[in-house]
């Protein structure tokens, strides 16, 4: 990646995620977002760096903390925000909310309120792609908490033995809700687990979008070439509470959070831009303003959208209606 354009795209995507999340956090406290809302603030580099390599027809499976994955894969922010506001125009037509985002049109095959299944489903998509002899790729994004779950073990093993075209992207933000990963994993080095399943495991700075981008590029290429899956462990940190409205400083300190904020992935890329000169501060500011306008419009779109019709509450339970 030598040209400016891709760098700017990464910047734009991270900024879009950040501003959407901040908007949603505000809306949550105003009661516009219903149910739980887990933001991706601090982790933007991961979805962004990985998804930059994905084609429209590649697919992504995600978790309760899935807004960033959805946007990075190409979900229109209007559809994201409208979904969280519970509107008919949302990507899941108001049926899903924050934890159940579906947009197969852009390859977002779902986020899930249950920890674990996304790993298995991505393996399944990989199975399809291999059987159908395409070079499509599937990605599972999941937290460190999922690593201790049986789905991780069974899913990675099957992907390993069958050499499925899958990226398993562990976003190790070091906590599952309030439990430190080191307390819940016998060996807290996730990347080392790759070996148990016969696949490469790579540990990265998840706050460095360029590092993520490079590693993901290699993993995607491996997958497309039929060389099988890769496990990426991206070390990161969420700088907002587990979910909006929850307390944050009983299990970690304000200092820790502030310290990690200085390692913000967006700031980091900005610094890189200014140091190496691929973008000016003005260009980045302009871009930020553009994105802010998009998010503001998306918010308005969401707020003005219709509620779903209660008479349709049981539609689509089966394929036949």
């Amino acid at each position: 990646m030598q040209e400016k354009q891709p760098f700017l795209e990464l910047y734009r995507t991270m900024m879009l995620i950040r501003l959407c999340e901040e908007r949603l956090a505000k809306s949550h406290s105003r009661g516009l977002v219903h149910g739980a809302c887990h933001t991706y603030v601090g982790q933007e580099a991961i979805a962004t760096g990985v998804s930059a390599h994905l084609r429209l027809e590649d697919v992504v499976f995600s978790t309760h903390r899935g807004h960033g994955h959805a946007l990075a894969k190409g979900l229109d922010p209007r559809q994201l925000i409208a979904e969280l506001y519970g509107r008919e125009t949302g990507c899941s037509r108001g049926r899903g909310g924050s934890m159940h985002l579906f947009a197969p049109e852009v390859g977002l095959m779902g986020t899930s309120g249950i920890v674990g299944p996304c790993i298995l489903q991505a393996a399944g998509a990989g199975y399809s792609f291999k059987l159908l002899k395409t070079d499509r790729v599937a990605v599972a994004f999941f937290g460190d908490g999922a690593v201790n779950n049986g789905a991780f073990h069974e899913g990675l093993n099957m992907a390993g033995i069958w050499k499925l075209p899958v990226l398993f992207v562990c976003e190790n933000n070091q906590f599952a809700t309030e439990v430190p990963f080191a307390c819940s994993a016998g060996n807290p080095r996730v990347a080392h687990r790759g070996a148990a399943y016969g696949m490469p495991g790579i540990e990265l700075d998840g706050n460095d979008v360029l590092a993520v981008h490079t590693a993901a590029g290699e993993a995607v290429a491996r997958a497309r070439n039929g060389e099988g899956p890769t496990l990426l462990e991206c070390i990161t940190y969420r700088t907002r509470p587990h979910s909006e409205g929850m307390g944050d400083f009983t299990y970690r300190t304000r200092e820790d959070v502030e310290q990690w904020k200085t390692r913000c992935p967006i700031l980091k890329l900005k610094r890189h831009a200014l140091e190496t000169g691929w973008a000016s501060i003005e260009a980045l500011d302009t871009l930020e303003r553009e994105v802010a306008a998009v998010v503001e419009l998306a918010h308005e779109f969401g707020e003005q959208s219709d509620w779903p019709n209660p008479a349709t509450a049981t539609h689509h339970v089966y394929a036949s209606h």
Partner: protein
């Protein structure tokens, strides 16, 4: 018509559909070269190879979840459980994912997946190889649940399942697998939600499932000699459940017995009773009776095993008792 076992009949359906549709593949333990613990895939490996007949590790949750992702992305997995008991480890994938994704995606993602496995008490298989879980799955929206009793139906229903965009649980009673019956050649489809009237009768309606259909048939023969005319209905699919056929029959007979080997509480027998006690109430001339397997884990020892399953004698007596009400 030629007579085939249920095993052969479903193999014919699967084999025909696999030839027809290259997106179908089978996942399970020993379903590759070995051809399945119950010969469910016998001979198919040689035609289709390991990608379409995929032997799995002992990762029930894993391969059911994998099948879910596959069904979402253009293929049509058939998960072969061997025994349905093993798949409780995958209940989360079935109930929280497979059953819900069509809905959550507003119908933009389909879920063409068949989950098949063996159910039922017999062969001293004991409690980890004899459960009947159809009523469990029938509780949840988004799933289709098929419980065939006859080889011909099994072929037709499996074919329908393999062309259906909804997830289908296809549960085959172990003691029925080897029974023979007429099976149509070639393409044969049986619609979901259509019960089969196995015997026409006027005194009492009996609804039975799986192996109990066969025991109830024997009871019908015995009772016929005594002039008791039984209408015997096999729902064949319990989700969807054919309300009309059951209600029409009760309207004629005024009496209903449901015979189900599985546990009574919150079972399909309760559902059918509740249906008739509501919509068919005015037609009833007697209490609705249920006859179920004993409410206990399946014991191993043959005399205990025999004691927990409704027998032809017990069914016969239950029908007589109901006619005397």
């Amino acid at each position: 018509m030629r007579q085939l076992t249920m095993m052969k009949a479903t193999l014919e359906a699967l084999s025909g559909e696999m030839a027809r549709n290259p997106a179908i593949f089978v996942l399970g333990e020993g379903i590759g070269k070995r051809g399945g613990n119950f010969n469910t895939t016998s001979g198919l490996f040689d035609f289709h190879g390991p990608q379409r007949l995929r032997d799995t590790p002992i990762s029930e949750r894993g391969f059911v979840g994998l099948a879910c992702g596959a069904a979402m992305t253009g293929t049509r997995p058939v998960v072969d459980f061997m025994f349905a008991d093993f798949v409780l480890d995958a209940a989360g994938e079935i109930i929280n994912q497979i059953a819900k994704i069509q809905y959550m995606s507003s119908g933009r993602i389909k879920m063409p997946i068949v989950l098949r496995g063996c159910i039922g008490i017999g062969h001293a298989a004991a409690t980890h190889h004899s459960g009947s879980y159809y009523s469990l799955y029938a509780q949840f929206p988004g799933l289709r649940v098929v419980v065939p009793s006859m080889p011909g139906d099994a072929k037709g229903l499996l074919t329908t399942a393999l062309r259906c965009d909804d997830p289908v649980l296809f549960l085959e009673h172990r003691e029925v697998l080897g029974l023979k019956g007429p099976v149509p050649e070639g393409d044969h489809l049986v619609e979901f939600g259509k019960a089969s009237v196995m015997r026409q009768g006027s005194d009492v309606t009996v609804v039975a499932l799986a192996l109990m259909v066969h025991k109830a048939l024997a009871a019908c023969d015995i009772l016929e000699r005594d002039g008791i005319s039984v209408e015997l209905i096999d729902p064949r699919t319990i989700a969807p459940l054919d309300h009309d056929t059951i209600l029409r029959s009760v309207a004629k007979t005024g009496r209903l017995l449901i015979v189900d080997e599985a546990f009574a509480p919150c079972g399909i027998g309760a559902e059918i009773a509740a249906l008739v006690a509501d919509v068919g109430f005015d037609e009833l001339d007697a209490p609705i009776r249920r006859l179920n397997g004993a409410h206990t884990p399946t014991p191993y020892s043959p005399p205990l095993e025999t004691a927990v399953v409704p027998s032809t004698e017990i069914i016969t007596q239950a029908i007589r008792d109901l006619c005397d009400e």
